[in-house]
Symmetry: C2
Subunit: 205 residues, 2 copies
DNA sequence: ACACCAATAACCGATTCGGTCAAGTAATTA
DNA sequence: TAATTACTTGACCGAATCGGTTATTGGTGT
């Protein structure tokens, strides 16, 4: 594994992205080490030189993604935001940015949730626990509902926004390129529209 | 192919679902005929007895899905609905119902959009054209916007609902069972909330 | 007892699998 | 420059799997 870490940052990223993409697309069993090597433009032998085995590579990717998720956590610092829509917007922006910088991480993480291969079943626990606690931190708070014309609308609107987020993710999953700013603007405008129509007049700054 | 058509309806569906699921999950190249045979609880030899070759099986599935989509078209008869939300609700209900009855069809169709295998590239044109014209029929009409407090909100709200639909699809993709009525109720409530907050008073029946 | 037929176990050559290794090449050291 | 070291990879391994074929099986009707 030290062999891999000693590579240039660019080469490491090329290999990581190739592996994330292949595992994300095919799943553990159907993704072959050769697939990944070809996508990374290196020899299959080097892959084994760097990671030892297919399983060790997969585990490395799991831990790598764990780090990425933790970074998203930190940078979003949701605690400071008092408004529901601001919190949703901030966390979405962080998610989208990291998705932009590391296009295959999200695809890989999504695939992990559907992974059923017994060979890596033991290793899967690592990621799933982390990911769950993410949403708990930005969960709807009691005071959020008070800003709504109909406070009982707060929860459904929150759920709708989560749903839209999954919609965006599905729409751009596997797309090799997309305009980050356009999508983010789109989402921001949608949030503004919802806010304008659901909030009491007094909370429309 | 006549061999396959002569089977009991139940056995045919078991085989179709197995094939849709495997191709949907793995893509054309990575899904093996053996995977499908095992999932369908029949021998691999029978698969070739029924369909001749892997490619012919895939093409059969494409045409089968085309039929399913056409049925959804017919049953929804969107022309009769004058209200935007009613049209969205009706088409979503149809989509969800057929998703419920034939759980792997949607997964397969989704995968077709990402299919890159050259071996079936020629056959893929069949489905993609059909699917595109689907949304054109329920596209936002001019008169829909007039019901909104802010007519310029109509288009974004329509886009948001499409996005939510993709979100639902992504959330339940690959789930082997889910409560159809619960999900549909959820969506229906969301639509009611949007309607109440976005429509002018006079259009709230 | 026979003929018929759908289903499959066993098999085909070819390819690919995860993984190894020795030869080649570039970079370092002396 | 010669020797040494570190890195990369083409060629290779046995085993498994690939798409596809064939010979045998067990069941059914007569």
């Amino acid at each position: 594994m030290e062999k891999f870490l000693a590579l240039t940052e660019e080469k490491k990223m090329t290999i990581l992205n190739a592996a994330l993409q292949c595992f994300g697309k095919f799943g553990y069993e159907k993704a072959s080490v050769n697939d990944i090597a070809v996508a990374a433009h290196i020899s299959k032998a080097s892959m084994f030189q760097y990671f030892g085995s297919k399983k060790q590579l997969y585990i490395y990717l799991l831990e790598y993604c764990k780090k990425v998720i933790e970074e998203i956590f930190e940078k979003a610092h949701l605690d400071s935001k008092t408004d529901l829509f601001d919190r949703i917007l901030a966390s979405s922006r962080m998610e989208m940015e990291s998705f932009q910088n590391q296009p295959f991480t999200l695809q890989f993480i999504t695939s992990v949730w559907e992974e059923t291969s017994p060979e890596v079943a033991d290793a899967l626990v690592i990621l799933t626990e982390e990911a769950c606690s993410f949403r708990n931190d930005m969960v709807l708070r009691e005071e959020d509902a008070l800003k709504f014309k109909n406070p009982e609308d707060a929860r459904p609107v929150f759920q709708m926004l989560l749903l839209m987020g999954e919609g965006y993710a599905a729409r751009y999953r596997g797309a090799n390129a997309f305009d980050f700013e356009t999508v983010m603007d789109d989402f921001e405008k949608n949030i503004a529209i919802l806010r304008k129509n659901f909030y009491k007049e007094e909370y429309l700054k």
